[in-house]
């Protein structure tokens, strides 16, 4: 019998309740769900959980240990902040799907077997899509369709991998899998990779997140990729391939971020960059590396959420997200500006902000394992992330050339949500050892605040700022232009449709040719038959009965003779 309550079910039940309520009551109940659930989750300890027997398998749909618990806490915080943010801007659809989505994420991190993981993995895909569709523009609807296709592709890959892994090894346990145990393990790896937005598999993220509702993007940024990071940390720690994948993830998106005009898309690219750090940490696989990856995931939810919230507030008030249309908003949205800058400082890993205490763990772990090239790439990415997320976002939205837009400050509920996030960023950044480091999966003996570390980090950041200033003043900096930049999505948004249209046309013509040919043959056969049997034809002519009778007798006679000879 279950002796502990699964938080996912609280979320699902809450979603049902929220769907039935309207107005203020709805917003309030939605907000209470993560709080109530958190009470239960805090009471959980490693070792709690359930096992059930289903379809002849022994499954463990609920398993609690330090790693899953950390993500459990994180998702409760994220859900609470997201729903608070949705107080004014949300509607029934967003609250319900937000709760379902958060519940699915919780289900996935507490899953102890691969079938349960698959169930929640697909639920994540479906529930999150409504946050994209919820914006109700043709653009976001199409984007959502691409999003769900890719998410379900990830789920199917997971399904295929699970089946192969199960048939080959007989195990459904969701624990260390490692790449060595055959095709199944590789497919599961790939499935995690799709949700984790690996290079060439990343496009769903940059495609859909900027198209979602302001609230939706805050939710989206918190769960899907973090569940994937959790899954990788659980099943593939220490896989060297991940180090290189992660390094690539940190480096390439920043180029796109520099030339992107939609500021939420800039954030989406920087999100891939941040996940890259986590993936590198998991690939290193040392205690420090895993701790760093997980800690960075924790912080990323907070500061990326904060940045998306500030941008969402801008979108909510101005109705546009293009850098070329924005600027000068610090005049009318000063509080949002401050929160955005806190987020920017955190993501850039300024000392005293949360990014600093977690990203440095990953970088140090890389250095300990002597991955020199990777280390250089990570340094480059650190500079780059400051450049686009730390400076570009606040600069083009709130400062830069004054767009003349004068709007109201963000609604209070949004400001409170942002304030909580901002406070958490600063608090974790300042006092990591009494907050974040306590709940990490491994014991922490890492000290982030050494003089060397603070100094080098300041140097790299300030000189990046200097570079930005110089480029901007000298006019070398690329201007914000309204445009679309090609990315991997070109392959399935332009190439694939073109190819399939071609194939379809070919199939249609060849089908028509086959039909025509077949019909011609049939018609000839018909004509031949008609020629023999049609009216006045040879076989249909009226014959004298007498001669027919005679011939019948003759035939019978011949038959008789043949029978007896």
């Amino acid at each position: 019998m279950p002796d502990a309550l699964h938080p996912a079910f609280l979320f699902f039940a809450g979603a049902l309740l929220v769907a039935l309520l309207r107005g203020k009551a709805q917003a309030l109940v939605a907000l209470l769900v993560p709080v109530v659930s958190a009470v239960f989750v805090i009471g959980l300890g490693a070792g709690d959980g359930w096992t059930v027997s289903f379809l002849g398998y022994e499954l463990q749909p609920f398993r609690v240990d330090r790693l899953s618990l950390l993500f459990g806490y994180l998702f409760h915080i994220a859900a609470f902040i997201g729903l608070l943010y949705a107080w004014k801007a949300g509607d029934t659809l967003q609250r319900v799907s937000g709760l379902l989505y958060a519940g699915s994420a919780l289900g996935a991190v507490f899953a102890g077997d691969l079938i349960t993981l698959f169930v929640f993995w697909e639920l994540l895909a479906v529930t999150s899509t409504f946050l994209v569709w919820g914006r109700r523009t043709p653009r976001s609807v199409r984007s959502g369709q691409r999003y769900i296709l890719i998410q379900i592709l990830s789920g199917l890959t997971l399904l295929a991998g699970t089946i192969i892994y199960f048939v080959d090894t007989g195990s459904l346990e969701f624990s260390f899998i490692g790449l060595e145990s055959g095709l199944g393990a590789k497919l599961i790896f790939l499935a995690f990779g799709i949700k984790c937005a690996w290079p060439f598999l990343h496009n769903w993220l940059t495609d859909s997140y900027p198209e979602a509702t302001p609230v939706g993007t805050v939710f989206l940024s918190a769960f899907t990729t973090k569940v994937a990071v959790y899954a990788l940390a659980r099943a593939y720690p220490g896989t060297e391939l991940l180090v290189y994948i992660g390094a690539a993830m940190t480096a390439f998106p920043i180029f796109f971020a520099v030339i992107e005009n939609d500021l939420r898309r800039v954030l989406a690219y920087s999100m891939i960059n941040q996940i890259g750090f986590m993936v590198v940490g998991i690939g290193i696989g040392s205690e420090l590396g895993i701790n760093g990856a997980v800690a960075h995931a924790f912080n990323d939810v907070l500061f990326k959420g904060l940045l998306f919230m500030s941008m969402g507030a801008v979108l909510f008030r101005t109705g546009t997200m293009n850098g070329s249309n924005l600027g000068g908003l610090y005049k009318s949205m000063p509080i949002t500006t401050v929160f955005c800058m806190v987020g920017a400082a955190s993501i850039s890993a300024f000392p005293l902000f949360s990014g600093f205490v977690s990203k440095s763990m990953v970088v140090t772990a890389v250095l300990h394992e002597h991955h020199n090239v990777v280390w250089f790439i990570l340094l480059f990415a650190s500079a780059g992330v400051f450049h686009h997320a730390g400076i570009k976002i606040p600069f083009f939205a709130f400062f830069a050339h004054d767009s003349g837009k004068r709007v109201k400050e963000a609604p209070k509920s949004m400001l409170i949500a942002m304030a909580i996030s901002a406070f958490a960023c600063v608090f974790i950044g300042t006092f990591p050892s009494i907050s974040l480091y306590r709940i990490l999966p491994f014991a922490v003996d890492y000290v982030p605040y050494t003089a060397t570390h603070v100094l080098t980090q300041c140097q790299i950041l300030f000189f990046s700022a200097l570079a930005f200033t110089w480029l901007k003043l000298s006019g070398l900096y690329p201007p914000e232009l309204r445009s679309v930049n090609l990315d991997v999505d070109w392959s399935y948004r332009k190439l694939l449709p073109a190819v399939s249209r071609g194939v379809y046309a070919m199939a249609k013509t060849s089908r028509a040719a086959i039909d025509a040919g077949g019909l011609a043959i049939l018609r000839k056969l018909g004509q031949a038959y008609y020629g023999l049997n049609g009216p006045a034809s040879r076989l249909a002519r009226t014959w004298p009965t007498g001669s027919i009778a005679l011939w019948a007798a003759v035939l019978l006679g011949v038959y008789l003779v043949m029978f007896y000879t």
Binding site: F54, S140, Q145, I152, G155, L156, A160, I163
Partner: protein, 506 residues
């Protein structure tokens, strides 16, 4: 009530219902109550057999022995049990839905409609419980005949043409191939009884097995294996409850059920797998899965799209049978139930949209979700179940079929199953997001809230609450029931799996 008694009663109930419906045609309320009542009694009767089957019992009853080895008889085993449960259970909801639909639509000849309906269920129960090939064949043909008046219900030229295609393909295949195969089997083995482990092992070998399998597989035209699938889209001219009956409950499921039953009880899965004759069927089924999905993508008419989707999904079951291993057979059998619930929900929704708004094309569905949220939400659930996403029933059958494909080392069908799910997403979900998230097109006046085509006038019984324009209650209720069924089946799958497990025993 003993199982044997229930077994005898099961076919009699719908037959009696057909009689009562015909006699009470003058009083529609009485007539329709008979239909619903018979459905409930039948379902109860069928359910009463379940515990016996779960305990390993196999109640049997022979009607008459025509010749030695050729008898008319009934026997209940897990697969037939499942099919009978699905058919009788969904008959209730389809009847309720049909009442709402036919009245909402003011169709003529409703008595003939409901009577044929009952006869079709009688035939389905006969197919489900047939103890040998001969009985199965007879009820199979009766099913074709009894559904013909349903397909041609509208009596328009188009309906009559579709009826000709329907009868033509189904009769030609069954008489040319299926009957021939039945007789051949009888000649080879001296019996046509469904026997666990099969009857052909040791009696047939080599090419004979392959040819026989081909005759059975293509002879069962109701399974809509390509290239004998055209009758199914053609039959789309029928009223929606008929489409639901054809595509989810009786006809197509009788087809795939026949193939599954023949593979399990005539060939025997270990014998079939050992001969390797199943290879070609695996390929035909895989090709049908993917081609039908691709065709479905190009269809704008909602019912045509669903029809091709059905063709594709049926081949999942045929593929499960063709894999001839435990996971494949159990998964394929589960898919009979899972797909039935998912697809019937989709058809009900298509019909509800038609009754309430006279819309048949996917491209006209923009914004319909604001007027029919319940229907469209059910459509979403049905779609997810058909795609095979948790927490809906379809995910488990897909799990087992895929596992069967891997265990049979059929990697290309394995991949095709995955691709097909993606195609399902691509052709089913657009209806949902168009309905919910895109604004109605403003160019056409017909598309306006609740405004139906002039010549029809507003249909009676449409719900109008605020902006809502739902179909009549009798339509919406069954939709909710079947959609909920999709969810229940996800959790009930374990029981179903346990019941079906003996099928895979070597």
């Amino acid at each position: 009530m003993t199982s044997e008694f229930a077994l005898i009663a099961a076919p009699i109930i719908p037959l009696a219902a057909a009689l009562l419906v015909s006699l009470s045609g003058k009083i529609p309320n009485l007539r329709d109550s008979f239909s619903v009542l018979a459905g409930i009694i039948l379902f109860g009767t069928v359910v009463s057999i379940v515990p016996d089957i779960m305990a390993g019992g196999r109640p049997a009853f022979t009607v008459v022995e025509v010749m030695p080895g050729l008898a008319l008889g009934f026997l209940v085993e897990p697969l037939g049990m499942l099919f009978a449960l699905v058919a009788s259970g969904l008959w209730i909801v389809t009847t309720i839905y049909a009442i709402g639909y036919m009245r909402g639509h003011e169709e003529s000849n409703q008595t003939r409609f409901f009577a044929s309906f009952a006869v079709a269920i009688f035939a389905s129960i006969g197919v489900a419980f047939a103890s040998n090939l001969l009985t199965l064949f007879m009820f199979y043909e009766l099913l074709t005949l009894s559904t013909y008046p349903l397909v041609t219900h509208q009596r328009t030229d188009e309906a009559m043409r579709a009826g000709r295609v329907y009868l033509g393909i189904l009769f030609t295949t069954s008489i040319c191939f299926l009957l021939f195969a039945v007789i051949w089997t009888w000649v080879i083995t001296g019996t046509t009884d469904f026997t666990p482990g099969g009857i052909l092992a040791g009696k047939a070998e080599g090419a004979t097995v392959g040819v026989l399998l081909a005759l059975f597989a293509f002879g069962t035209g109701k399974a809509a294996l390509m290239p004998f699938h055209r009758w199914l889209p053609a039959a789309m001219v029928a009223p929606t409850p008929v489409s639901a009956l054809l595509h989810a409950v009786a006809v197509v499921k009788a087809g795939v059920f026949t193939i599954m039953k023949i593979v399990v009880y005539i060939f025997g899965i270990s014998f079939l797998a050992s001969t390797g004759s199943n290879q070609w069927l695996i390929w035909v089924a895989s090709a049908t899965i993917v081609l039908a999905s691709l065709v479905a993508l190009t269809k704008d008419n909602l019912k045509a799209r669903l029809a091709y989707s059905t063709v594709s999904q049926l081949s999942y079951i045929v593929l499960g049978a063709a894999l001839a291993n435990q996971a494949g057979v159990v998964g394929g059998s589960m898919h009979i139930a899972m797909h039935a619930f998912g697809k019937i929900t989709l058809f009900f929704c298509a019909g509800a949209i038609y009754v309430a708004h006279h819309k048949t094309k996917v491209s006209e569905m923009n914004g319909i979700g604001r007027q029919m949220p319940i229907t469209l939400f059910a459509f979403l659930i049905g779609s997810l179940s058909v795609i095979g996403l948790p927490p809906f029933g379809g995910s488990w059958s897909k799990w087992f079929i895929t596992m069967g494909a891997y265990e049979a080392e059929q990697m290309i069908p394995f991949a095709i199953l995955m691709v097909s799910s993606l195609l399902n997403v691509a052709y089913l979900l657009p209806i949902v997001f168009r309905g919910f998230f895109l604004a109605p097109k403003e160019t056409s006046d017909d598309g306006h809230v609740g405004h139906v085509s002039d010549h029809d006038g507003p249909s009676p019984g449409i719900w109008k609450i605020g902006a809502l324009r739902e179909a009549p209650l009798f339509c919406v209720l069954p939709i909710c029931m079947t959609a909920f069924g999709c969810l229940v089946l996800f959790f009930y799958a374990s029981e179903m799996h346990k019941m079906l497990l003996p099928l895979g025993a070597p």
